[in-house]
Amino acid sequence: MHDTDDMPPDVDYDEDEPSFSDPEDFVDDIEDEELLGDLLREKPQEADGIDSVIVVDNVPQVGPERLEKLKNVIHKIFSKFGKITNEFYPEGPDGSTKGYIFLEYGAPSQALEAVKNADGYKLDKQHTFRVNVFTDFDKYMNISDEWETPEKQPFKDFGNMRHWMEDSDCRDQYSVIYESGERTAIFNNDPKEPIVAEERARWTETYVRWSPKGTYLATFHQRGIALWGGEKFKQIQRFSHQGVSLIDFSPCERYVVTFSPLMDTKEDPQAIIIWDILTGQKKRGFHCESSAHWPIFKWSHDGKFFARMTQDTLSIYETPSMGLLDKKSLKISSIKDFSWSPGDNILAFWVPEDKDIPARVTLMQLPSRQEIRVRNLFNVVDCKLHWQRQGDYLCVKVDRTPKGTLGVVTNFEIFRMREKQVPVDVVEMKGDPESKNAESIIAFAWEPNGNKFAVLHGESPRINASFYHVKSNGKIELIKMFDKQQANSIFWSPQGQFMVLAGLRSMNGALAFVDTSDCTMMNIAEHYMASDVEWDPTGRYLVTSVSWWSHKVDNAYWLWTFQGRLLQKNNKDRFCQLLWRPRPPTLLSQEAIKTIKKDLKKYSKIFEQKDRLSQSKASKELVDKRRSMMEEYRQYREAVLHQYQDQKAARLELRGGVDTDELDSNTDDWEEETIEFFINEEIIPLGE
């Protein structure tokens, strides 16, 4: 045995051991809360081992002669969950057992496992085990019998949460992240130049998000999400979720869903948390297997329901209970995708072909779970669901491989939601007659509040933009096709009618502004290397931008009118992201909007006058600014030149008495020099 021989000689432990106790005059200025607040919140208690103990009820009562046999049976059942380190079989005065026993495991986790699995175990007809953790008794004993009314929280007034809507010039706001994320600013959009509303350093650690109605600005931090709002962008709510990376608001702005790849534990699901924005309370946590497709939970338009899809199941939850609707999920074998109507509580989902059963697109009403329309499809490769923003139409883009043809054919199946029995019409995308393959679809988009849709199809550089119109009789008409477009994305104005076809990133930022009422190109422009396009919520302005996240030079955002007139070029150092602040839905009735449209002339006069006034004011301001700058500069130069004159003697001395202050101040020394200029050469043959 070498080991013991190699042990170091006995250390003299009496040697000066540093004293760890505080000196007498020490004042502890750090509270425990500050030092280990995160631990204290979990209320740790000294472990005494009793949490490894379980209590088993309904054990057969036996006399001493059969105790050994019972112990064997019990052992057999309970040592599956871990090694039993201790056991106790209480006995009555007659020597027989009392019908309940205590078992101790090596670890609390084994005890929990035993409770989970052995509770309800049927030993025989008369004896069904009830298994509990011993500490649970303590826990439930300690609950007070009297219900305490929770203390009323004082109301926090954050001022007018829709302050920005009261802007006298109806300016919209947008958030800008720049300096590679170091700074975030909120601007009021103005045709002349952006006006800073708020600017902060390190406001967010990654990016920001506006809530759907524009009330809150969410910022991302290592420890969670913060919501800001009101006139001065004060902090309104905080949600602590370590490592949060994705969020999603419910359309009603009542809830927010956060996702973090860290933190998840088996007992306590924390990968996805749904929070109540008003109270800041955690409503429910969920596990998350994969975050590939965010949002995982999709909300119905009114925020009443939210749903998620997992293998062969569609789980629909309801608010505010956050429980499963009707306490059970929908079994839909091999469901591929689903989507809520943005206008009604209707869900669309599709399942692929399975041997002889065709692929299906189903529309389901909720909460009744009634199937209002089922459409069978054959030879389907893939489906994409596109809802029109008001839920009037659903377009299902179907990629098929019909028998006897090579390649993929794409159809658009248009569901007219507002009509009885939801009629479906089909638009076939005919391929390029020259090539055998059907055309590939690059982009599809509905007009947000109308009945038109736009499609980009073809192969670069032969990309076509087609506009279709869904008539009330169900006929779908091609209104216009522009060929040879440089575009890969479609951006409709939120008000409809106008749209921008953009060739982002690899297509160099080509922009085409289209009016779809008569299908004219209003303007063709370019924002070189543009990566993003954002319409303002009113459809008056458009921003194109080159984000530092995708491209490292020329980071800027440009402001355009909806007709494609360039208003501003805003260069920002390492500009990352611009997001318009959404507006809440209008409070005006349909009639009121109509009257306003009728009297537009009356209003436009007032606005035009206002515009002229502000323009003349702006040019006056500019001139005034220049004047004062010039005056300041002139004064500085005068002072300096005065000093310069005073130093003339010193200068003369340094240059041996030669005055060089002016270019021609010593013309006497000049020498004349002849310089030839080569103008042109001409060869002239000399005649005889």
Partner: protein
């Protein structure tokens, strides 16, 4: 007017300089030859041959007798302007980045790069003392360990040198004691160029932080800022108008795309008082490395990464143009 194209270098231009009268234009490049041209017609007058590495800097004294060049071949050389004869060669341990004659033409300064284990030095020689040249022993040498000098120019009356550093600092180094007289830091990145106004009362900087700034030479008070969205390589002050010209562009190694549209930079004209851009001149293929105004203010020249130098004469409208105020 059509610019005059000077084709005398095989590599990118590093510095251009007019003499005091403006009849001559000196150009140096990353090749080894310094050129001198007639500024009026672009005819090459001659070359100064001898360097064996890229030439970083050039200067000419006030009476156009001597020319000074500094090179990456670890030497600073003095030439006879008229004959092109090499008068002196001062060997250093690392590349010479900046050089210049003082107001009197008697004292020269040059700075060396922090390189190959040597730190950056600012050296002063008095040409009136031949011993200093012979022994290669400057009368004053100032070590700059913190951040190397990337550009330098003499202050008025030869009292100090105004040096721009790699970290964006500007220092005044006394020509007598070597001590730092004034120090400012208005730029966040390297200062690529410093040039003085014709009367030496102001200097303009050109920085990698995409801006140029105007400073008072004596007090180093910051007066004006001119902003662009590209690194600025060089800037000059017009001798007759309240204008400045700036040249720059993305560094070749930082341009990742093959497109010629990215990273380019036209010569930009700003109003000195309003800090507003009012004109641009295209021409070079790639970034502009240096710009200089003719001392009469009627033309300017630019040297580019493309190896060409272009002399531009202003159109008459340039002199009439006024911003509304």
């Amino acid at each position: 007017m059509k610019p005059i194209l000077l084709q005398g270098h095989e590599r990118s231009i590093t510095q251009i300089r007019y003499n005091r009268e403006g009849d001559l234009l000196f150009t140096v490049a990353k090749d080894t030859v310094a050129n001198v041209w007639y500024s009026v017609n672009g005819e090459r007058l001659g070359t100064y041959n001898g360097h064996t590495g890229a030439v970083w800097c050039v200067d000419c004294d006030w009476d156009t007798k001597n020319v000074l060049t500094g090179s990456a071949d670890n030497s600073c050389r003095l030439w006879d302007c008229e004959t092109g004869k090499q008068l002196a060669m001062l060997n250093t341990s690392s590349a010479v980045r900046t050089c210049g004659f003082d107001f009197s033409g008697n004292i020269i300064m040059f700075s060396t790069d922090k390189q190959m284990g040597y730190q950056c030095f600012l050296n002063y020689f008095d040409l009136r003392d031949p011993q200093q040249i012979e022994d290669n022993q400057p009368y004053l040498t100032v070590p700059c360990s913190e951040s190397k000098i990337t550009s330098a120019v003499w202050g008025p009356l030869g009292e100090f040198v105004i040096a721009g550093h790699e970290n964006g600092e500007i220092n005044q180094f006394s020509a007598k004691t070597g001590e730092v007289l004034k120090k400012v830091k208005e730029h966040s990145k390297q200062i690529n160029d410093i040039q003085s106004s014709v009367d030496l009362t102001m200097v303009i900087t050109a920085s990698k932080d995409c801006s140029s700034k105007l400073f008072d030479s004596t007090t180093l008070d910051h007066i004006k800022t001119f902003k662009t969205e590209r690194p600025v390589n060089s800037a000059a002050i017009s001798p007759i108008m309240d204008h400045v010209v700036m040249g720059g562009g993305q560094e070749a190694m930082e341009v990742t795309t093959t497109s010629t549209r990215i990273g380019k930079f036209e010569a930009r004209f700003f109003h000195a008082a309003y800090e507003e851009e009012f004109g641009r001149v295209k021409g070079h293929f790639g970034p502009i490395n240096c710009v200089a105004f003719h001392p009469d203010g009627k033309s300017y020249s630019s040297g580019g990464e493309d190896g060409y130098t272009r002399i531009h004469y202003f159109d008459p409208q340039y002199f009439d143009f006024e911003l509304e105020a």
